[in-house]
Subunit: 491 residues, 2 copies
C-alpha cells in the first residue's frame, strides 16, 4: 500500500489527506495543533460526501489514516510528503531539514506554498532535487489544479513521477517551468483581490455586488475556457490578432487601479496569437462557440438543479412564467390528457450525436409526474407538510427520436387516482408525433415513515374530479403491457 505523509493539517493539509486516503493510500499526519484531528476529520467528512461520486467508477477502498506526534515517524517510508505549514520561509526550511533527516531519498516532498519559489524552499538542503512546489486549490479534494513548480535541481524523472502520481489521484498537474512569486493562478487572484478592495473601499460596489459581477458573467466562462480561449472565441473569425488590436487601447485607459502595463508591441501580439493558435487552432471559431455554449448550458443547468447563482436566476425566470405557460386544474380541459410538460430539449440532454439520451426521457416524464402532482394539490407546500408520492414502477416505450432544441410536450391520462394509488400514462410528443410513452405507478407516502398512506382530502377530491372528466377516454394503447418473456428464434 502506498503511503503519504501530511505535514501540517488544516483545510489544505486535510484536503491533501482526503485525496490520498480516498484513492487508497495510507496517510500519516503530523501536526502539532491539538485540534488537527478534528479539523482533518471535518474536511474528510466533506470529501467523503462529494469526491467518490465525481467518478463513474468506484474509488479503491480507503487507506488507513493515522496521526503522529513525531515528524520522523510520519515521514518514514512515505512515497509522497506534502508540506502545508504556515507561509514563513524560516519555518518551512526548518521543517524540510527535519523531513529530509528521516524520509526516503526517493520520496517526493511537495510544498503547498502559495507564494514561495521552489529555489527558495530548496536553499541549504543537501538534497534539493527532492523538493518541489505542488500548490493546490481549495477545496483540494475536488478542484483538479496543482501548480507543479520545479527548478533545475529537480531531475526529469522525478518530475515525471510527480506528474504521474498526482494524475493518479485525479489531479491536474500544471507544470510551471519558470518559477515566479505566487506561481500563476494566485497572481490573477491577487490582482482581482486588489481591484476588489479598491472597489469596496471606494464605495463602488459591495462584496455581494462584486461576487454577482463575477459569478453571473465571466466566472461561468472561465470555469470552462479560461481567459485566452474565451477571447479567441469573442474575436470571431477575424482571429486573435484582431481581438488584441481592438483591446489594446484599453491598456492605456484607467480601467483598473492597477496600472503597471506591458508595452503592447507587435512581438507581444505575435507571441500571444501564435500560442493561441497552438492551443485552440484545432477547432474553428464556430466549433469553439458551440463547445462553449454546450458547456455553459450544462453548467448553468447544473446550477439550476442546485437553485444557486446563475441557476437561481433561471428558476426565478421560470417561476414567473409558469402560471401563463402551463394549465392548472381550473384552466385545463380535464376531459383530455392534461398538458404536464412543454419545453425545448436542452443541449445537456443529448448525446454526441445530438439525440436525446435514454435517461433524459425519464427526466422529462418525471417532470410531467411532478407537474401532475402539483395540479392535484401535491405541491411544494404539501410536500413540506410531510406527504408526497413515490414512484413504484415505470414502463417506458420508445417510438421515435428527438434532437437538442426540439419542442416536446407531455400529456397525461390518469388511469387510477384513488386512495394512496396514482396510476398515470404519459405520452410525449414532438409536434404531433408520438415519440415515447411512460406508464407510472405511484404510491402516496408519509415522508416521515416512508410508508404508504392516504393523501389529503383536497388531493382525493382533485383526483375524483379528473377521474370523472377522463372517464370517457379510451384505455391507452400500450398501457398495462409488459416486455414479453423472450422466445428464442429458431436457429
Amino acid at each position: 500500500m502506498a503511503r503519504a505523509a501530511i505535514i501540517g493539517g488544516g483545510v489544505i493539509g486535510g484536503g491533501w489527506a482526503a485525496r490520498f486516503l480516498l484513492n487508497g493510500w495510507d496517510v500519516r499526519v503530523f501536526d502539532p495543533d491539538p485540534e488537527a484531528q478534528r479539523k482533518i476529520g471535518e474536511v474528510l467528512d466533506n470529501a467523503r460526501r462529494s469526491l467518490p461520486g465525481l467518478s463513474d467508477l468506484p474509488l479503491p477502498d480507503e487507506g488507513t489514516l493515522s496521526f503522529h506526534d513525531d515528524l520522523a515517524e510520519a515521514v518514514e517510508g512515505a512515497e509522497w510528503i506534502q508540506e502545508s505549514v504556515p507561509e514563513r520561509l524560516d519555518l518551512k526550511l526548518k521543517v524540510y531539514a527535519q523531513i529530509q533527516a528521516a524520509c526516503e531519498e526517493g520520496a517526493i516532498i511537495g510544498s503547498s506554498t502559495s507564494g514561495f519559489k521552489p529555489s527558495e524552499l530548496q536553499e541549504g538542503s543537501d538534497r534539493p532535487g527532492q523538493i518541489v512546489v505542488t500548490h493546490p486549490f481549495n477545496p483540494v479534494y475536488l478542484l483538479p489544479l496543482i501548480e507543479l513548480v520545479t527548478t533545475g535541481a529537480n531531475e526529469a524523472a522525478l518530475i515525471d513521477r510527480a506528474k504521474g502520481l498526482l494524475s493518479s489521484l485525479g489531479l491536474f498537474p500544471l507544470h510551471v517551468k519558470k518559477e515566479i512569486d505566487a506561481h500563476i493562478a494566485d497572481r490573477f487572484l491577487e490582482a482581482v483581490w486588489r481591484e476588489a478592495l479598491w472597489l469596496v473601499k471606494d464605495g463602488i460596489a459591495t462584496t455581494e455586488e462584486v461576487d454577482e459581477a463575477i459569478r453571473m458573467g465571466f466566472g461561468i466562462r472561465w470555469a470552462q475556457m479560461g481567459l485566452f480561449e474565451t477571447y479567441r472565441v469573442a474575436g470571431g473569425e477575424a482571429g486573435m490578432r484582431h481581438f488584441m488590436a481592438q483591446f489594446g487601447p484599453a491598456l492605456k485607459w484607467p480601467w483598473t487601479k492597477l496600472m503597471d502595463v506591458p508595452e503592447f508591441t507587435d512581438e507581444l501580439v505575435d507571441l500571444i496569437a501564435d500560442q493561441s493558435d497552438a492551443q485552440s487552432g484545432m477547432h474553428s471559431i464556430r466549433e469553439l462557440e458551440r463547445i462553449r455554449d454546450n458547456n455553459l448550458v450544462a453548467m448553468m443547468r447544473a446550477l439550476k438543479a442546485q437553485d444557486w447563482g446563475a441557476g437561481a436566476v433561471l428558476n426565478a425566470h421560470d417561476a414567473g412564467r409558469k402560471r401563463d405557460a402551463m394549465p392548472d386544474i381550473e384552466t385545463a380541459d380535464l376531459a383530455q390528457p392534461i398538458l404536464t410538460l412543454a419545453r425545448a430539449v436542452p443541449l445537456d440532454w443529448t448525446d454526441y450525436n445530438g439525440h436525446m439520451t435514454e435517461s433524459r426521457y425519464l427526466d422529462a416524464f418525471a417532470g410531467a409526474t411532478d407537474r401532475f402532482m402539483e395540479i392535484i394539490g401535491c405541491d411544494a407546500d404539501y410536500i413540506a407538510s410531510g406527504g408526497s408520492y413515490f414512484t413504484a414502477e415505470t414502463h417506458i416505450r420508445h417510438l421515435g427520436e428527438c434532437h437538442a432544441g426540439a419542442r416536446i410536450s407531455v400529456r397525461t391520462q390518469m388511469l387510477l387516482g384513488q386512495g394512496k394509488k396514482l396510476h398515470l400514462f404519459h405520452s410525449m410528443y414532438e409536434g404531433e408525433e408520438l415519440i415515447a410513452t411512460c406508464e407510472s405507478f405511484l404510491l402516496h407516502v408519509s415522508l416521515e415513515t416512508r410508508r404508504p398512506c392516504a393523501p389529503s382530502q383536497e388531493i382525493e377530491d382533485s383526483m375524483a374530479r379528473i377521474a370523472a372528466a377522463q372517464s370517457g377516454l379510451e384505455y391507452p394503447q400500450g398501457a398495462g403491457s409488459s416486455i414479453r418473456k423472450p422466445v428464442p428464434m429458431a436457429e
Copy 2:
C-alpha cells in the same frame, strides 16, 4: 407585441437581438454594415440551439426580426433601444441624438458600452434621463449578467422598469449605483488581462497554461460564489476578519506586477467583513462548504458529460482505472449476472432530501446497459463503425431508496441475446440490498438507416457465450411483469 430596436449588430448586438426575439419581442435592427444580416443570423443560430432549453418551460413564440436602413424607422415605437456601436464617445453621442429625435420619450435607451460612464453618454442630451448603461457579457444570449449603470438624471421609475424588463428576458440586472470607468466586471477582466500579458511576455506561462490555471481551479469556484464568498468559506469559522488578517500581508509582496494597493486599514477590514456578513451570514460556514461542494460537483460532472476542461480530467482518470475496476468478458464469471456498474451516488443525482432522484436510476441502468454492450463488443470503435443498440422498452421497479454517497452496483442477466434482439435484466444493489430492477429490451440498429439489423459476428458470438453460461440462471422475479390495469377500489 413589445418591440426592441438594436442599433449596431455584430456579436453583442446580435446577442441582444436573440434575447429579445426568443422571448417573443419584435426586433428591428439598424446597422450600416452590409454583413450585419449574416452576422446576426449566425448569432441567432447559436442562440436558437442553446437558449430555449435552458428553461424548463417553453419560451414564447419568436417575434419578428426586420432590418432597416433608416435609424429613425428602426427606433420608432420601440420600448427598448439597445446601442452597441463601436467604443467611440463622439460616435455614440451622434447616434443618441439621432435616436432621441425619432424614438418615444418613454423608451429606454441602453448602451452596451464596456468603458464609458452613463454621465458621459448623457452629455448634451435634452432627455438624459432616458439613457442608461446596460453592459452585457458574451454570449449575451446565455450569460445572465447585465451591469445597469445609472446617474442622478435617471428617475427611479425608469430604473425599476429597466430592471423588470431585463429580468423578464431571463437576465440578471446588477445595478451599479456609482459610475466608474469600465463599471465592475471589466475592471477584473482588465486586471487579469494585464497580469496575463506580463506572464506571457515574461515567458512564465503560455496562453494555454494561463487558461488551465484558471479553468482547472478558481474559475470553477467563481462560476458559483465569486470572490468574497469563496474566501469567506476558505476562512472557515474564524470568519472574514481572520481571513483578511492572514491575506493582508500579501498586499505588500510582489505577487502581481500590478502594484497600486489600497491601504489595509481597520476601517477597510470592517467594511468588508460587515458586507460579507450581510451577503452570506444567513448560512453557516459548514452550510456554505456543502453548497459550494454540491455546486462544484454538479458543474464538474456537467463538464464531464461534455468531456471538457475539468470534466475531461475526470474522464481521463476514469479511463485509466476502468480496466482494473470492471470485469470484461474474459474476467467476469459469465454464469452469474455480470457486474456492469459500480459507483458512488454523486451529489448531483439526489434531491434536496439527499435521496437519489427517479430519473437517475435510469441514468445508472443506462450506464449498465452501455457497459454490457462494451462487454459483448459494442464499444466506442464499433459504434463509430456504424452499429449500435437502441432501447425500445424499459421497465423499472423501485424496491428501496438510496442516498448521496451510497455505493451502488448493478448486475446484469441476459434474458435474450440473439440476432438484433437484446433483452437484459439489471438488478441494482446497495451492499446486499436489492433496491431496484430494470428490464430493458434493445434492438441492434444501423446508425445510418436508424433501422434494426443484425450485429457483427463478434457480438453474436459473445452473446451466445453469455447465453450458454447463464442458461442455468432462473428467470428473474419481476421480469416480464407489467403494471396491471387498475381495478378501482370499492367506494
